[in-house]
Amino acid sequence: MTAILPVLLLLTSLLPATITFFLDQDRFRLRNTLNLGGAIVKVGLIVMMLLAVAGGASYETSIPLAPGLVVLLQIDTLALMFVSLSAFLWLLTTVYAIAYFGRKREQSRFFGFFGLCVASTTGIALSGSLISFFIFFELLTLTTWPLVAHKQDRASLRAARIYLLYALPCSVVLLIAIVWLKGITGPILFTDPPDLSQVDPVTLRVIFAMFIIGVGMKAAIVPLHGWLPAAMAAPAPVSALLHAVAVVKAGAFGVIRLVYDVFGVERMTALGLGLPLAVLASVTILWGSIRALQQTEIKKRLAFSTVSQVSYIILGAALASPMGLIGGLAHLVHQGLMKITLFFCAGIYDERAGVRAIAGLNGLGPRMPWTSTCFSLAAIGMIGLPPLAGFVTKIYLGLGSLQAGAPWVLAVLAASTLLNAAYFLPMLYRLWFADPAPEVAGDEAAPALVAPAVIAAMGALGAGMLAASGVSPLGWATLIVEREVAP
């Protein structure tokens, strides 16, 4: 049973996705049942495992692909954190997507790739070795492409092309780095990090830089972030998934794995790699925010906000202090909840009111109160104002930076908070206080669109309000750090 659980977890997304591809376009009910069913089963499995893993259990499966190429799936606390986030948000996004697409065409393709995308994310989370990670990481690249290009218009195809233009070279760099390191130390398992003490420091630094390029592209680290705003051409559920769970998170998750389970904190410190990474993350945080200020489209602004926010996670990992890591890990979930809310809402504004530009938000608040309340909550959380989840992250990152002896990070956090406020608050102001444009008519007569946003927003609120409890993302992050890093 223990060996099959990781595989089952993969199959809950993989099987519905595969079957979906072969369904006729108009089999709406069957397709929806399949996808929702898979998502629900997955969440159930995860809840079951959360209890077991919190109690100390772990699961492992290895699937040999070729002599010398083994896919290792394991479930530890860190993996489970990412998997639960993706499973939960997948369920929400599926509900949302079903409502979003309604009776449109080409849904089989969409939901098929959608499921594959989540399966790859699950695989990334469960990977127990670098090469397994890479395989799922690449699979994610491939399965995201059709989602980004889904509308098949010029803009979408361009976005998809830019995405690959960034993704493929970077993954090649990543592959070379993996093979290189493997050539020196043998297979790289996360549970049993390689002994790097004999390796030439310069080589290690180069390999580390290559890793960061490879993984950082997905996490949209500046200057490898250009694809993310372009990818906004995708439909709203895709953007939501991309920004909250799948792609950028996979990158951030990869950085955490890399820093803690491949190189290890001590080696990082000895090589002097933490500081450059922290600086890179800080630059990204600020640059993303500054660029977000300049956007006039809702989704573009949110995209740049993601660029900025995801680097909080990387910053947490780079600080290499327990508090910083806890903050970064917690933000993995926090940012997911908040950003998916924002994108759900952006999608609702687009669908129900035809609003895409920020200027179009004027006066929508009273007309679409649920959506706008969720949007406002998530935005406030993003700024880092209590009691939403974002402030927990900021406190931990701040404490972590001091623990790591990098007080300048506090200035970055402060500046970022102000910048976040500068681009989110005007949107809220427009929503609630500006005079509405007469020709814009919005309504919320689509409960299946609004409900996921409300649930996600409640999640973000709860993650902040109940941060100290064991079941919160923060609690779980603390458990990870205590169990995986501290001893």
């Binding site: 692909l65 092309r161 690959l164 070379i176 093979v179």
Partner: protein, 489 residues
């Protein structure tokens, strides 16, 4: 033993029957032959797994007096691969080369030529005698040239003639080398050769044979005949030509350099082969990027993919041959051969189907076809994933194994070549994909039935599945190769 017979003689008989019998009966005979040969190939592979290397000494005469046929792991894999591709092509060609669509000559000529080609391939994979191999190669070239000429256009004839000249020159060079070997050693059996002391003329002999085989394999810079030939042949023929034919001469090279005469080779020569391979990867890819016809893109892709295979020489031969990493390079190369065969045949079959629907294979005319035929578009995309070496696919597994071997043996340059090649492949394969995927006003074309789209889908799917479930392949492959049995985790 029956399997040997069926594999060698079956397709020959089938070819004869296809010539002799009238239309419908000819196709029935071909179908029966295909089925029988497929069964024989799979059965032989099963036997190899169960019993180890199978040897058939014709007439009971052992070499050097007689001629021996031998089925080791590599041969078994190649035979099954050939059988699978041939079966798929046969299933597709039933429609694509029906007399009313492709014309009487193509419909008549295709079946005998294809079966003849198959017999030649089987012979090459099973032979260990240099002259036998020569005969197999000649047969192979003739059948292949015939298949190119079936295109029937002026361009196809020109391409066929160019191909023929390259093939003939290659055969002559090879034959010259064989003669030198025979003169020096009095035997042409590979096993016996590997045990003999080197002779002075061996270097020249190996160089001549290699030059000939390179010309036939279409390694850069001898690739110039390949794109026009594969681009203008009927698509099912192109599938066979691109997926299988170059592999035959490559396998001979592999056995020659790594098995028969390993002590006559040297680092410098091995490196030269790999350098030519690297040049092929880059050149083929760049040329593919410049093409505007789908079939030419796919053909140039073959040029590039052949280049990958040659990286194996410095990784599994010479000094590196004794390292544990050598078996990784060997496994990876075999994997690449198989996955390329599956993916490339799928691509050519799809290209043919689209040509028949859209009336042309120019990219501009294929706009929006993905909406019309989603199944074959998916198949094309899967094949592209495998060719670009993206996981999970046989292409990735093969590349990864080779890259690992390259780093482990300290020759990381070849890993970079693989990596860059993958990127370039993504570029040239992305172009048709983007075009296919673009939304247009629904093209007023009639889609092919799903039943016909499913064949390439299975081939492409197999090249993907190869990356996930390849236990069987790696069970057969080491048979007969002691060093390949050592696994490097």
């Amino acid at each position: 033993m029956t399997a040997f017979l069926v594999l060698l003689v079956g397709p020959l008989c089938g070819a004869l029957a296809a010539i002799a019998l009238p239309g419908r009966a000819a196709r029935a005979a071909a179908a029966a032959t295909i089925a029988a040969t497929l069964v024989a190939a799979v059965g032989l592979a099963g036997q190899v797994v169960a019993q180890g290397v199978l040897r058939l000494e014709l007439g009971g005469w052992a070499p050097p007096l007689g001629i021996a046929l031998e089925a080791d792991g590599l041969a078994a894999v190649m035979l099954v691969m050939t059988a699978l591709v041939m079966t798929a092509v046969g299933l597709t060609a039933r429609h694509a080369l029906a007399p009313d669509t492709a014309g009487a000559r193509a419909a008549f000529g295709f079946w005998p030529l294809m079966l003849l080609l198959w017999a030649a391939l089987n012979a090459v994979f099973l032979s260990r005698d240099l002259f036998n191999l020569y005969v197999g190669l000649e047969l192979l070239s003739l059948a292949a040239i015939g298949l190119v000429a079936l295109g029937g256009t002026a361009a196809a004839f020109a391409a066929a003639i160019r191909y023929m000249i390259f093939a003939l020159v290659g055969s002559l060079l090879y034959l010259a080398g064989v003669i030198l070997i025979y003169a020096a050693h009095g035997t042409l059996d590979m096993h016996l050769l590997s045990g003999l002391d080197p002779a002075a003329s061996d270097g020249l002999a190996l160089a001549l044979m290699t030059g000939g085989l390179l010309a036939k394999t279409a390694l850069f810079p001898f690739h110039v005949w390949l794109p026009p030939a594969h681009g203008s042949a009927p698509s099912p023929a192109s599938a066979v030509l691109s997926a299988l034919v170059p592999k035959a001469s490559f396998v001979i090279l592999l056995r020659l350099w790594l098995d028969a005469m390993p002590d006559r080779t040297g680092e410098a020569a091995l490196t030269l082969l790999a350098m030519l391979g690297a040049a092929a990867v880059i050149w083929g890819s760049v040329r593919a990027i410049a093409q505007v016809r789908l079939k030419l893109i796919v053909a140039y892709s073959t040029v590039a993919q052949i280049g990958y295979l040659f990286v194996v020489f410095p990784l599994a031969g010479g000094a590196a041959g004794d390292l544990p990493s050598a078996s990784g390079a060997w496994n990876g190369t075999s994997m690449l051969i198989v996955s390329h065969a599956l993916a490339k045949s799928a691509m050519f079959l799809i290209a043919g189907q689209w040509m028949s629907v859209a009336g042309s294979d120019r990219l501009a005319d294929l706009r929006g076809l993905a909406l019309l035929m989603p199944m074959s578009a998916a198949a094309f995309a899967m094949a592209a994933v495998s060719l670009a070496g993206l996981p999970p696919s046989g292409g990735f597994t093969g590349k990864y194994l080779i890259m690992t071997a390259a780093f482990a043996s300290g020759q990381w340059v070849w890993a970079l070549v693989m990596a860059v090649g993958g990127l370039l492949a993504a570029v040239y394969l992305y172009r048709p994909l983007a075009v296919l995927f673009a939304r247009t006003d629904a093209p007023d074309l009639a889609a092919l039935s799903r039943a016909r789209q499913v064949v390439p889908l299975i081939l492409a799917g197999a090249s993907i599945v190869l990356g996930i479930a390849s236990a069987g392949l790696f069970e057969i492959l080491p048979v007969g190769r002691p060093q390949a049995a050592e696994e490097v985790l």
